[in-house]
C-alpha cells in the first residue's frame, strides 16, 4: 500500500522535481526522444548545407578545413557530456537519488563516441595540415585520456553486478576524471601545443568567417539534440531494468504485451 500512496502522490505533484522520480521521467523521456532526434536531423542537414555549400574555401588550408564542422562539435560534446556525467554522479552520491546514477550511465557511451570522433577527425585533419596523424602534445594527449576515462567508467560500471556499488565506483571515476576536462580546454594556452588555440570564445570576437562559424554552431546544436535523443532512449531501458520489481513497470510491460 505504501508504494501505491507514493505513486498517487507523485502523480498529483506539480513540482518539477517530480521528474526526479523514475516513473515520472520515463514517459517524459519517451515523449521527448523522437522530437530531439527530428530536430537533430533537421539541424544536421542545415549545418552540412552551410558547411559544404555556403562556407567558402579556406585561404590557407583549402577544403580540408571542412572537417571542422564535425571535429569541433564532437570535441565540445565529449567534454561537456563528461562534465554532465560528473554532475549527475555527484548529485547521486550526495542525495542518493536513483535517476541521477542512471543518467550518468546513459551519458557515458555517447560521450565516448563523440570523444573518439574528435580524435579520429583530428587525426585525419592533422595529416594534411601538420604532416602527421598524431603528436603527443598536451591537447591530443589529454583528449586521449578522456577517451580512456569514458571507457574505464563504462568497463567498471559493467563489471560490478551490484547496481549500487557499480554506481558509486563509477561516480568516483566520473568525479576524479572531471579534473581532466579543464586541462583539455586550457591545454592550448598552458602549454606550447601543435594544436591551435580556440577560434571561438565567449570573451573575444570569433577569428573565422561567419559562414564557417554558423556551420559549426548549427552542427554543435545538432550534436546536442542528438545526445538528448540517444540518452533519453538509453535511460528508459536502464529505468525499466532497475525498477523491474515495481508495480508501474509491471503495468508498463503488461501494456507492451497487450500490443505485441
Amino acid at each position: 500500500m505504501k508504494t501505491a500512496n507514493f505513486d498517487d502522490r507523485i502523480k498529483r505533484s506539480k513540482s518539477l522535481l517530480r521528474f526526479a522520480a523514475p516513473q515520472m521521467f520515463y514517459p517524459l523521456a519517451g515523449t521527448f526522444a523522437p522530437w530531439c532526434l527530428a530536430v537533430a536531423a533537421v539541424l544536421t542537414v542545415l549545418g552540412l548545407w552551410i558547411g559544404f555549400f555556403v562556407a567558402p574555401t579556406d585561404a590557407q588550408q583549402g577544403d580540408v578545413y571542412r572537417v571542422i564542422f564535425i571535429h569541433v562539435p564532437a570535441a565540445w560534446m565529449s567534454m561537456f557530456i563528461y562534465l554532465v556525467m560528473a554532475f549527475w554522479a555527484a548529485v547521486g552520491l550526495v542525495l542518493n537519488t536513483r535517476l541521477s546514477f542512471m543518467m550518468a550511465q546513459a551519458l557515458a557511451p555517447t560521450g565516448a563516441m563523440f570523444c573518439f570522433v574528435a580524435l579520429w577527425t583530428g587525426a585525419l585533419w592533422g595529416r594534411p595540415t601538420w604532416g602527421t596523424y598524431w603528436v603527443w602534445d598536451a591537447r591530443l594527449t589529454s583528449q586521449l585520456l578522456l577517451l580512456f576515462l569514458y571507457l574505464g567508467y563504462i568497463a567498471l560500471t559493467q563489471a560490478i553486478d551490484d547496481a549500487r556499488r557499480a554506481d558509486r565506483a563509477g561516480a568516483i571515476i566520473a568525479l576524479v576524471g572531471a579534473v581532466n576536462v579543464p586541462i583539455i580546454y586550457f591545454s592550448v594556452q598552458w602549454w606550447n601545443t601543435l594544436h591551435q588555440g580556440a577560434s571561438v570564445s565567449l570573451t573575444r570576437a570569433p577569428s573565422m568567417a561567419s559562414a564557417m562559424l554558423w556551420g559549426m554552431l548549427v552542427m554543435a546544436l545538432a550534436a546536442w539534440a542528438y545526445t538528448f535523443a540517444v540518452v533519453f532512449w538509453r535511460v528508459r531501458s536502464l529505468i525499466l531494468e532497475r525498477e523491474r520489481h515495481t508495480e508501474w513497470v509491471g503495468a508498463e510491460l503488461a501494456a507492451h504485451e497487450g500490443r505485441a
Binding site: V64, V67, R234
Partner: protein, 70 residues
Amino acid sequence: MQWESWSAFWSMGGAAPFVWGSYAVTLLLVALELVLVLRRRRDTVRRLIRLRRVTAPDRDERRASKEMFE
C-alpha cells in the same frame, strides 16, 4: 555556391580521403549507436516480459493466499 562541378565537390580540393574519411566514420558511428540503443530497448522489454511471466503467477498465488487468510 562554392563548387564549379560535382566532381570538384567530391574531390574536396584534393583532400577527399581526409574530409570524407572523417564524415563517413562519424556517420557510421552515429548510425551504429542508434541501432544499438533501439535494439537494447527492444531486448530489455522482451527480457523483462519473459521474466514477469516466470515470476508473476507466483506473485498472484501469494496474493490469493493472503486474501484467503484475511
